[in-house]
Symmetry: C2
Subunit: 200 residues, 2 copies
DNA sequence: GTCTATAGGCAGATAGAC
DNA sequence: GTCTATCTGCCTATAGAC
């Protein structure tokens, strides 16, 4: 058995475990709300070991966004693969947010958007790219929805896509403060109700 | 001329000036993104002087939210005083957010909502109260709108009020990262279009 | 009310042994 | 790869002079 195969079974590798812990810390406390010491403590390693894997906090932050964006893109691809009407895809999209919120976490990039002015430039760029990618995917879904007749909306698909991202991020932000995922669900339902062609 | 009268003309008092600077710092960088040193530098005073006015950062933070909430309540009262249809009040409400965003700032409580898990309890409570107050005001406006015929919405007025707060906070969060207030305007227009009874 | 000086701790980061 | 040890700097906060 190779080392890689072994890792796949019961060890994700230190670099990956560092990201898991750091990701949760950013989503819960923010990038300016945790330190290398916090990660080291949770993993029972030293701060020096962290610096071996990620030279600095900025590097770690950049890697976090990249991985998060990759996972999100995979989730969107999975929604596409499932097929179904566009309106159903929008509901599945909102459900992605809900699953994050249920772990008492904010969207990684939503959290970083709040701290945007304090982030190093590479992290800023990665956050923007994440939102751009989400917007692009939603725009496609909305256009498909016009064709399959499941979705309706006034104005352009781009503006509608942006409205969806903004609403879900904001609903997450507020609902998490209350510790009430149900607030997010209600907001998502209200939002999507406005996009449902059924009652048009 | 009394000392107070003098202050009203060209001096807001040190405590007030500290809050002005701190408020901007929180709205731009977050509560965990600035220090007493930042305030002291901008005001050309020492950190020790800050501690005379606000014993600790948590005290300052609490005072910031209280003042912000008071000002916001006054702005809402002003909107009510202006009268007009409920839909117009909703537009005026969104405009309050836009004016903050134009200064490249996040809503104070929206920013603190992101950092919620790192805040001392008194600040958490004050943030929630701010949202509760906004929701209550919006609910009243929405109910008035149903009566005056300018507003329509599916579901209850409470859910609708929450959707409005969430959408505006989220639109602010995202638009500020892009440095494009126009994104917020578009989102606000899209949101309010869904509440306009004109095309029902 | 504002200052100088300083305490005590934690931040991110590095050197070098193992 | 991970450790111990350490550095430098910044953080919040306090004591005490003026």
């Amino acid at each position: 058995m190779t080392a890689v195969a072994h890792r796949e079974r019961d060890d994700l590798g230190t670099a990956s475990r560092i990201m898991d812990v750091a990701e949760a810390l950013v989503q819960v406390r923010g990038f300016n709300g945790f330190s290398y010491a916090d990660i080291a403590t949770q993993l029972h390693i030293t701060k020096a070991a962290l610096h071996y894997h990620y030279a600095g906090k900025a590097d770690l932050g950049g890697a976090l966004i990249t991985r998060y964006a990759t996972r999100f893109a995979a989730a969107l691809a999975a929604i596409d693969a499932d097929g179904g009407p566009a309106l159903r895809k929008l509901a599945a999209y909102a459900d992605l947010y809900l699953r994050v919120l249920r772990e008492n976490r904010m969207c990684l990039c939503g959290m970083l958007a709040a701290e945007y002015q304090t982030l190093p430039q590479p992290m800023r760029d990665a956050v923007i790219t994440f939102f751009d990618d989400n917007e692009a995917w939603l725009e496609t879904v909305l256009q498909d929805g016009t064709r399959d007749g499941s979705v309706k909306f006034a104005g352009g698909s781009r503006a509608a896509a942006r409205l969806i991202v903004s609403t879900l991020e904001g609903a997450m932000l507020v609902a998490r403060s209350y510790g009430e995922p149900a607030r997010f669900q209600a907001a998502a339902e209200g939002l999507l109700a406005g996009f449902a062609a059924g009652r048009a």
